[in-house]
Symmetry: C2
Subunit: 269 residues, 2 copies
Amino acid sequence: MDLNTEGVKANGRRDRETGTLGKLVALLDLVALADGPMRFTDILSLSDQPRGTLHRQLSHLVEEGLLEVDRGGRYLIGLRLLTLASRSWARNEFRSVAEPHLQRLHDVTCETVHLGVLHGAEVIYLDKVEGRQSIRMYSQIGNASPAYCTGVGKAALSALDDADLAIRIAGIGFHPYTEQTLRNAGELLSDISEVRRRGYAFDLEEHERGICCVAAPIRSDDGHMLAGISVTGPAYRVTPQSLQAWAPLVVAAADSIMMDMRNRMGPKR
Amino acid sequence: MDLNTEGVKANGRRDRETGTLGKLVALLDLVALADGPMRFTDILSLSDQPRGTLHRQLSHLVEEGLLEVDRGGRYLIGLRLLTLASRSWARNEFRSVAEPHLQRLHDVTCETVHLGVLHGAEVIYLDKVEGRQSIRMYSQIGNASPAYCTGVGKAALSALDDADLAIRIAGIGFHPYTEQTLRNAGELLSDISEVRRRGYAFDLEEHERGICCVAAPIRSDDGHMLAGISVTGPAYRVTPQSLQAWAPLVVAAADSIMMDMRNRMGPKR
DNA sequence: TATCATGTTCCATATAGTGGAACAAAATTT
DNA sequence: AAATTTTGTTCCACTATATGGAACATGATA
């Protein structure tokens, strides 16, 4: 994980777009973040490129399949990205090691189970096992959320040493998603010391109203990668008591995943 | 969809890597296709770049989060791609329109339902609804498969006009995945005329032994995008008779998706 | 038809990528 | 332990590629 702070915001996104690639990726991001296809002029006003330049950049991205153009000449993210990403996901060792454990955790709790990795001060969800009962909700996989208001995020942060923690927390812009959202570094730090003490983290409607979870951290042996798993459910069904009851199970599953990873890594490949 | 054939192979992948971006994307592809993390030298031997150049290219990709380096200095696809791709997936209008129909089809058949779009001569799977009974298999989403040996692919191809069809079929390299795989353009064309006649396609273990499906084509109103849906199951459970019985349902679902798309698109946004 | 907004192409210039070679660091052999 | 090979990183003159202003299209609106 990258500890270099210069030019990198707390959310992990780059600041100064350097080089040809940087500019193109920034464009990709711009289009991906929009909530629909964008017309040339929309992009023009958001990027600060001259028209000729922008036009060529977009053309190149389209040529490579990273962007697509719909019949209205509007740009949207291309399927090539989906293909690239899916391969990486399918072959991700961490994810595949964790999978059976997530499944088991789901079988016991009957609630949604998440696996996420820490990236800067964000959590990126790598996998989830959904409750059969729930309607199929917006797929979380690949989604990046702030670490400070998610169970997985706080669990993962709790596994950092203080120096590293301080660096990552430094640049967080605390956004009050709900009334329960932690409001500043102080609140986050004290929550994290709680998490360290007991070994698991809660998210009690801190990111989204009506959504709660328990989460436990996963340390890779070398501390190079931090992750977490969580059991999540709607507040009307999942009480603090049930979360509390599940905590040991979540911690145990996290530990098992750690063990499996160590064993898998062991026979130096 | 791109009808330009020069420099584009039948499988849809580009031939001549032009420009800075092209070379970098080719590298990404190379790493994504490998079945594990790659060391610098591995990549060096596969790409035909000089060492200095390759090193800088990789560094740039890593800087942008498109690649990552593990503790052993090996390269693998970065999570940034997953995040980008997931956004595109979640906001894909086609996918979201189709979703309830896929779900319904699954509820009736209790087998796996797929949605895929045609891209050149490949099918890219956009969504799937899995059987509860089956173990969670390798996720197909984002995966690209040859059109000529998949139900969705043949269904989508059948919706093309002859000229377009000829162009796409021209460069296909027919690979005999199983004994049932169509072996050449002639076999494919005659199969497709069958599909056109009856309105739906079968895949009887043509791509993977023991896997069968029925599929129906989805035409977007302007013919700009072609897709298909299928109901897939293991041969021991799914007989040709059950496939035959499901065919009208699949066709009906495909038609409904088309209608919904048309309505959604209608109010010119 | 005239006008304005939007999208595309061109080309001299500046910039960023290139690749050979030299350097550094491990891993392996002697 | 020294020598050798294999692997990874840095440097810099050179050149391919991206840049961006302006001119050219296209299409929508008045």
